[in-house]
């Protein structure tokens, strides 16, 4: 009887892990050509485990897996990029975990999506290297929504399909785009959308991060865009993203530390 290969090799990014039994863990991998899959990493909670490092969340590595009865088993793993800067800075780490959670929540097991794998890899690299962390994350969110079929409509009103004008429009996360002022009555769950926010959201839909990396966004505008994209994700997922709370907690901690460092006249 012809049998499939007993072992296979794939590059993958570790999204998360959970404990299994005494010393094992179930590791969720996002692989380059098999999509998301769960696999067992044996003995990784022991100090002497060679596997423990490469199966840490947010590691990019090369994995050798064996077909198991229930879940496949990781037999060997070698780290390609450990993203050390992500692990040493809470601002980077919290955002990287958020990105990994989004990929985990938005995908089904064994549904191949190489573009998404690339997007996550590029995002982790940017989060490890760049300083415009929030912009990196906004670009990731917009690209993720686009790749999974939730691309927000930012050129025309989602109700009357007329082209949007540079005026105060409304963000309609439940309708997947923007509603013009004329259609606003009668629509529910709308958020006011500033002209500048619409411009930045359109830029985020661009093809390359290089154009966005040069953008300078003031804190209020950044907040508005973050809120809009979180709303859109919430509607697409029909649930909250848990790691978002930690991103916020770390941000508050950073602000408090900055306030202590500069006891300036304005404590607001």
């Amino acid at each position: 009887m012809p049998q499939p290969l007993r072992v296979y090799k794939t590059p993958a990014i570790v999204l998360r892990q959970r404990k299994l039994g005494d010393a094992d863990k179930i590791v969720t991998l996002y692989t380059a050509n098999l999509g998301k899959l769960d696999a067992v990493a044996k003995g990784v909670r022991r100090v002497t485990s060679r596997l423990a490092g490469p199966v840490e969340p947010l590691s990019h590595g090369s994995f050798l897996l064996a077909h198991g009865r229930n879940l496949d088993i990781i037999t060997q793993a070698q780290s390609i990029e450990a993203f050390q800067p992500l692990r040493e800075d809470l601002s980077r780490l919290s955002r990287a975990l958020y990105a990994a959670e989004l990929v985990d929540r938005f995908t089904e097991e064994r549904a191949e999506n190489f573009a998404l794998y690339r997007l996550l890899l590029d995002t982790l690299r940017r989060l490890a290297q760049r300083d415009d962390l929030d912009l990196v994350l906004r670009y990731f969110e917009m690209a993720l929504l686009g790749q999974l079929g939730y691309r927000p409509e930012l050129r025309q009103c989602v109700v009357c399909t007329t082209a949007l004008e540079a005026t105060a429009n409304s963000w309609a996360p439940s309708a997947g785009g923007v509603v013009c002022p004329r259609c606003r009555p009668g629509e529910t769950a709308l958020r006011s959308l500033s002209v500048n926010a619409l411009k930045v959201l359109r830029l985020l839909q661009g093809d390359s991060y290089a154009d966005i990396g040069r953008l300078r966004v003031d804190p209020d505008l950044a907040n508005e865009i973050e809120r809009h994209l979180r709303d859109a994700i919430h509607y697409a997922l029909e649930r909250d993203v848990r790691s978002a709370a930690f991103v916020d907690a770390v941000r508050r901690q950073v602000r408090r530390a900055a306030a202590r460092a500069e006891p300036g006249p304005s404590p607001s």
């Binding site: 969340p57 070698q78 809470l90 780490l93 919290s94 959670e101 985990d104 709370a245 901690q253």
Partner: protein, 208 residues
């Protein structure tokens, strides 16, 4: 994985036996076969043995509380370590779980006090700092007298995140916050060490 309770058909097993098998099966690391074996062992064992096990389980839930100082599980409050006059009160070692204290005590390397967080920050599981015993630790430091806090959380992503977050919270309170070193396990071969551990071991190398 196994959807059906391991007791088999209701008619094949007497209900009290089936109930105990199911109770054992719910424990971590106990599969259906082990649950059956434990149950039938108790069935044949002297009654005193079964009673003492039942008594131990009841006492566990009735008598064990968390130490109001270090949050370790204890029968007396404050716990044995916190009330020991021989221990160094100026050093607190912060761990994730009570079992970690056992490991550190076995090592004999720490003569100070402990603080148990009862978990680690795990953003994807929705476990944030507010779900851990962090505010109790902050309160201990506010009382003063603590010179050093050793973050002995696990050397994995969650443990590191916890150490960084809690460390930042404590630094303004005036104590020195340190982290356990990372490196090679005793008795291992260099050739088999993983890249990350080896890199950390090089980074934290010491004078011979």
């Amino acid at each position: 994985m196994n959807e059906n309770p391991p007791a088999g058909r209701a008619s094949a097993t007497a209900p009290p036996v089936a109930r105990l098998i199911e109770a054992f099966h719910r424990l971590p690391g106990i599969g259906p076969k082990s649950a059956q074996r434990l149950t039938y062992h108790l069935l044949r064992a002297p009654e005193a043995e079964a009673r003492s096990l039942a008594q131990a389980i009841v006492e566990l839930k009735e008598r064990i509380i968390l130490c109001s100082v270090c949050q370790n599980v204890t029968e007396a409050d404050p716990c044995g370590i916190c009330s020991d006059p021989a221990r160094d009160r100026s050093t607190i070692c912060v761990v994730e779980e009570p079992l970690d204290i056992l490991a550190l005590e076995r090592s004999g390397g720490h003569r100070g006090l402990y603080h148990v967080l009862h978990g680690a920050i795990s953003p994807m599981d929705g476990i944030g700092p507010e779900d851990l015993k962090v505010s109790q630790l902050v309160a201990r430091l506010r009382k003063g007298g603590v010179n050093e806090v050793i973050m002995a959380t696990n050397p994995n992503l969650e443990g590191e995140a916890t150490a960084m977050y809690v460390g930042r919270l404590l630094t303004p309170l005036g104590a020195r916050v340190t982290r356990l070193a990372r490196g090679l396990p005793v008795g291992a071969d260099l050739e088999y060490a993983d890249d990350l551990t080896l890199a950390r071991a090089l980074e934290h190398r010491q004078e011979v």
